[in-house]
């Protein structure tokens, strides 16, 4: 037990202790077998400079925007049909009709589609603001250059999401914007025409372009973004958060940390937090 009693514990204290053990039992079970609880604690309760700024929440905001896109996108995929063929009953394209159905008929469909549509812009805007903060704070400098590069890749992937997602409503705007976008890629020197033909899936924009963009939009690029965000966060945790440029704390002069105070028995494995971030090795014995 983390708590040592100098006198014989009273019945109430014993009961309380037993209750705590019961409540913590599932978490202790998980922790003992995976170390996940300690890992999450390490992730959430790591130290940051004392003079961090609201601007330093823009990255988390961009992450939240991405999660909103992912969740609303999954729901939209339940109702959307990526088919360029014509509905014989109405003479309208099936993909476009399914968008109309989501917007006008599915309960709260207008809301989820609106969140996805406007959230797309929010995601891109937040990434740019986050990028600006990192630039102005000098947070891209050694040893964080790699994280800047990863961030730029996430931005590019986010823009590819915008490009592929724009075609999916399959209306005139979507179609011709994609024609222009693909042909713009096609004017790139040497490989441009080949890239354009790959994006179209042939010589003309048609049904194969739509299904191809849908697959890229909902499977390939999001998977890449999730992988890159994981790497991005890993580097943030490993390298720590930068102080603002006006910080009075000298860099590299952080005082030696005290042993973290643990509030609850059971979950109390103290995790050493070092600047190198190599602190997640398992320690024998969960309780002292």
């Amino acid at each position: 037990m983390a708590t040592t009693y100098r006198r014989t514990p009273t019945k109430a204290e014993l009961r309380r202790q037993r209750m705590e053990e019961l409540v913590n039992y599932p978490l202790d079970w998980l922790e003992e077998r995976s170390g996940l609880v300690g890992g999450v604690r390490y992730f959430l309760f790591r130290n940051v400079p004392s003079d961090v700024n609201w601007m330093q929440t823009l990255g988390s905001a961009a992450l939240t925007a991405f999660l909103v896109q992912a969740i609303t996108g999954v729901i939209l995929a339940m109702y959307y049909t990526p088919s360029a063929s014509t509905d014989p009953a109405t003479g309208k394209p099936v993909a476009w009709e399914s968008i109309v159905n989501i917007t006008d008929h599915v309960t709260m469909g207008w809301l989820v589609r609106g969140m996805h549509k406007w959230g797309a812009s929010v995601f891109i805007i937040l990434m740019f603001l986050h990028m600006g903060r990192v630039f102005l704070f000098g947070a891209y400098k050694y040893p964080r250059e790699l994280n800047w590069i990863v961030g730029v890749l996430i931005l590019v992937m986010g823009m590819m999401e915008g490009f592929t997602g724009y075609l999916l409503p399959w209306d005139q705007t979507a179609y011709w914007a994609s024609v222009v976008g693909i042909n713009l890629n096609g004017t790139a020197p040497f490989l441009g025409p080949w890239l354009a033909q790959f994006l179209r899936g042939g010589q003309e924009i048609g049904g194969e372009t739509l299904t191809r963009f849908y697959s890229l939009h909902m499977l390939v690029i999001p998977a890449a973004i999730i992988g890159l965000i994981t790497l991005h966060l890993y580097l943030v945790i490993r390298l720590g958060v930068t102080s603002p440029p006006w910080s009075k704390e000298a860099a590299g002069m952080e005082p030696e940390e005290e042993e973290p105070v643990t509030a609850r028995p059971g979950l109390t494995r103290p995790v050493p937090r070092t600047a190198g971030g190599t602190a997640m090795q398992a320690e024998p014995g969960g309780r002292d």
Binding site: L22, P93, V180, F190, W194, F198, G202, Q203, G206, G285
Partner: protein, 339 residues
């Protein structure tokens, strides 16, 4: 549950956490599973009687199992069954012989050659690479190649030539690929130029000007600048050929204009203003059984003259925005396969 043979008397709750947590051996789950089976069998045979018996077995054994599994939580001493298998005696091939009997205790490993771990490392990487390649190559090929290979040339039947009066322009829309349907509907500006003398055979052959409406800037749909059917008081012709519905809308164009970025062309398709880098593409054509058949498109840098006498500077089909002549053409040395 196996009855404890050697109950350990001094098992302390606290010290357990420093040992491996092996679940104590118990037979209750087997009884529980039998109960479930009896319930399921009973559902087929006799739901009231057999299933009830099965349910009772399940509940009883489930309770005993849960009681057993939560013994540690409830603070009861945990009984671990002792190891009862006999240890093998030394000297039966399981352990190394004493060093003073048979030379060195460990086998001699030659220093040259590939060690076992090196070999396994190489085998893992090599086999992994082979398996990865076997999966990646067809998948990547499937994703990339269909857009480049087997691109069919579609012949588009526009109906009898007689529907195109001499010197009259038509905004003609047609479906290129009937299987793909409406999404492959394209537009061309068509004018019947009458006949022209073939320079080789000296025979009179039909002449048509057939201009694609794909803007040579970035591929937007170019519109005819001028009054169309309704304003002209001429009827729009609808035909049904084997390519589906074909629409001929009479028009008197002063030229063509693009709505996207303002590119302008004259009636032969030469660029006159705006961002396009060349003239509009044209369709090759043939006359088959008196019907006008569109073949594939080709690109045009510019056209001199007009109508049947026009001299067309033809190039292989290139994407919008790609230069055909001048030094900029060097940026596009290799075109992907077209039909």
């Amino acid at each position: 549950m196996v009855e404890p043979e050697h109950p350990s008397t001094d098992t302390e709750h606290e010290s357990l956490h420093e040992e491996a947590h092996l679940p104590p051996p118990t037979l209750w789950p087997i009884g529980f599973a039998i109960g479930i089976v009896v319930v399921l069998v009973g559902l087929v045979i006799n739901p009231e009687l057999i299933s009830s018996i099965g349910g009772a077995i399940t509940v009883v054994f489930g309770f005993l199992w849960a009681r057993d599994a939560t013994a540690e939580l409830r603070g009861e001493p945990i009984v671990v069954e002792p190891e009862r298998r006999q240890m093998r005696e030394a000297g039966h091939g399981m352990t190394a012989p004493p060093a003073d009997q048979q030379g060195v205790a460990l086998p001699h490993v030659p220093e040259t050659g590939v060690t076992r771990s090196r070999f396994l490392e190489g085998a893992t990487l090599g086999l992994g690479g082979v398996i990865g390649g076997l999966i990646t190559v067809p998948v990547a090929g499937f994703a990339v190649l269909p857009g480049f290979l087997g691109q069919k040339q579609h012949k588009v039947d526009l109906g009898p030539v007689s529907k195109f009066p001499l010197s009259q322009w038509f905004v003609t829309t047609f479906i290129v690929d009937p299987i793909e349907g409406e999404v492959s509907r394209r537009t061309a500006f068509i004018r019947n130029n009458g006949t022209v003398s073939d320079p080789k055979t000296k025979k009179q052959v039909p002449s048509f000007t057939i201009i694609s409406n794909h803007c040579a800037h970035l591929g937007c749909p170019v519109q005819a600048n001028g009054p169309t059917g309704a304003i002209l008081g001429q009827p729009t012709v609808i035909e049904h050929t084997k390519n589906g519905r074909v629409k001929l809308d009479p028009v008197v164009p002063a030229g063509y204009g693009c709505p996207c970025h303002g590119g302008q062309y004259d009636i032969e398709g030469n660029r006159t203003a705006g961002p396009p880098v060349r003239a509009l593409d044209r369709y090759a054509f043939e006359i088959d059984n008196g019907n006008l058949i569109l073949l594939s498109t080709y690109s045009v840098s510019h056209v001199v003259g007009t109508g049947a006498q026009a001299k067309i500077y033809k190039y292989k089909e290139a994407g919008p925005g790609e230069h055909l002549d001048g030094p900029e053409q060097w940026f596009y040395p290799l075109q992907p396969p077209h039909h």
